[in-house]
């Protein structure tokens, strides 16, 4: 392990220790923040309860569906837009300013469209994630060297072979970045939806615990959520490093 990682771990544990100490000795109001060890107890309690486990599972399922949909639709749309250069140019300013629009304001519309079930949540997560996938797919496709496409033409590759042997490896780093964004944005969209109107899921459980002054449960659930998102990101990050390590000249 290198020096930066060691310092980082020391820094994080130091911050937690300071927080623990400040909470225990009353420098921070117990009503606002509870000590990290108590948060962990809360997380454990949340995991032990059947109903919270169901809420967590529900959220994870929604995120997974949103992620799969956004990656599949986003890369297909990216491919199509790459072909249609004129449409792409027209859409460019919209794609660039897309994330300035608070997507979740369309939540009521989705409730009317899909009814009060999981699909409005998935729609929000999908809308949030899909454009990041499209943008990164377009970036990746634009950066495939001309010589690669010419070689493919010389070798008379079929479209399927071309996709598998040229596009996928050459655009992999950008496609991967798109997937990483899709994971983060799917989580953000789904959880935000659950906070705003939904009656189920982790976001709802956190809001519910807050409203019933159950700080232990609230912080426990937040810790669980952050730990889940954090470890998924960490795994993707490590996987990405291994992909890069195999690419010569990068």
């Amino acid at each position: 392990m290198n020096r930066a990682s060691l310092i980082r771990i020391a820094l994080l544990f130091g911050a937690l220790a300071v927080l623990e100490w400040a909470c225990r000795y009353g420098y921070v109001s117990r009503e606002a923040v509870i000590p990290p060890t108590t948060m962990l107890q809360g997380a454990w309690r949340a995991l032990a309860l059947e109903e919270t486990r169901a809420e967590i599972l529900w959220t994870l399922e929604n995120v997974a569906i949103s992620l799969i949909l956004s990656v599949v639709v986003g890369s297909a749309a990216g491919l199509l837009l790459h072909r249609g250069a004129r449409l792409r140019r027209a859409l460019d300013p919209l794609l660039a300013s897309y994330y300035a629009v608070p997507t979740f304001v369309f939540y009521p519309l989705f409730i009317v469209l899909f009814g009060l079930n999981r699909w409005p949540l998935i729609a929000i997560g999908f809308l949030f994630a899909v454009v990041a996938v499209i943008i990164n797919t377009l970036d990746g496709l634009a950066r495939i060297p001309r010589s690669f496409t010419r070689t493919a033409a010389v070798m008379r590759l079929t479209p399927a072979q071309y996709a598998l042997h040229i596009i996928l490896p050459a655009a992999a780093p950008w496609l991967f970045t798109g997937v990483k964004f899709a994971v983060a944005y799917s989580f953000i969209g789904v959880i935000a939806g659950e906070f705003v109107v939904s009656g189920a899921g982790m976001g709802h459980a956190i809001a519910f615990a807050y409203n019933s002054f159950d700080n232990r449960m609230m912080y426990g659930l937040i810790v669980l959520l952050f730990a889940t998102v954090g470890s998924i990101n960490m795994l993707l990050w490590m996987w990405e490093r291994r992909l890069y390590a195999r690419r010569a000249g990068r």
């Binding site: 980082r8 629009v101 009521p108 990101n233």
Partner: protein, 266 residues
């Protein structure tokens, strides 16, 4: 490849003009297409679920001429502008420091990237408990959303400055402040503006979310109230207002971004 033709300046100018014309035409076509899609959606889903474009614009003018509206708009604008100012200035300073000091940057980058990707909306109870209801909670919410991309973009920009520039700064014995203002910030400006663009969007998002939960005033509050009462006409007109404002601001920053990149030295 008709490369040689571009050597004729008259012809090249004419072609550029024609390209601009098709581009304007495409933009108009796209706009018309989107409005038509909206209208069709309104007919298919029913006016109650999705009000038509004309009805939405009508409702929006009605809302904007309401005597309560300026109060709400001003509240949101005040919270957003304060949060934006904090995000940009603090983010710029922190990003410059972390970019200049390599080890600090390496230590904090994964932490910042992790913070960027977590759903920060879950922190709203914590922010409320710490700041109480009111404008400071909204500002805090805007800042935690907006500051991280500004830091990350600035940090990467500073790291990627060519070593020659910094060596010449040392050779000229510039002070730290002089190096920052005359070398580092100009060299990193395009990326810093990109960071500002993302920071702008996310600060707006954060402020609105904060307003939806932690306030009795502001556009976010109007939005959440309309959502609760199922008033889709109000929701759609406020959404339209936000979309137009956000897209316009983003387009202006994007134009600035492109211009800076074009003039940036290689």
């Amino acid at each position: 490849m008709p490369v040689a033709q571009d050597a004729d300046p008259l012809l090249a100018g004419e072609r550029a003009e024609r390209r601009r014309d098709t581009r304007t035409l495409d933009a108009v076509l796209l706009f018309v297409g989107l409005v038509a899609l909206w209208q069709v959606g309104s007919v298919v889903l029913g006016r109650e679920a999705l009000p038509s474009p004309v009805a939405t614009v009508g409702k929006l003018t009605a809302i904007m001429s309401d005597e309560d509206f300026p109060r709400h708009a001003w509240e949101t604008a005040r919270a957003f502008l304060t949060a934006l100012l904090i995000s940009l200035i603090a983010g710029l300073v922190i990003g410059l420091a972390l970019g200049a000091h390599r080890l600090s940057g390496e230590v904090t980058e994964p932490i910042l990237a992790a913070l960027y990707s977590i759903p920060k909306i879950t922190l709203y109870p914590v922010i409320l408990l710490l700041f109480g209801l009111g404008i400071s909670a909204k500002i805090a919410f805007g800042v935690i959303h907006g500051i991280i991309p500004v830091i990350l973009f600035t940090m990467n920009a500073v790291r990627n400055i060519r070593a020659v520039y910094l060596r010449s700064a040392r050779a000229m014995r510039l002070t730290l402040a002089q190096t920052a203002t005359t070398i580092v910030i100009p060299a990193a400006l395009p990326e810093i503006v990109s960071g500002f663009r993302v920071g702008f969007a996310l600060t707006l998002l954060g402020t609105l979310i904060g307003e939806m939960f932690a306030s009795q005033r502001g556009v976010g509050y109007m939005l959440v109230k309309a959502m609760e009462t199922g008033d889709t006409a109000t929701v759609m007109s406020l959404a339209l207002l936000l979309v137009v404002l956000a897209t316009a601001a983003s387009a202006a920053l994007l134009a600035l971004d492109r211009r800076l990149r074009r003039y940036a030295l290689p």
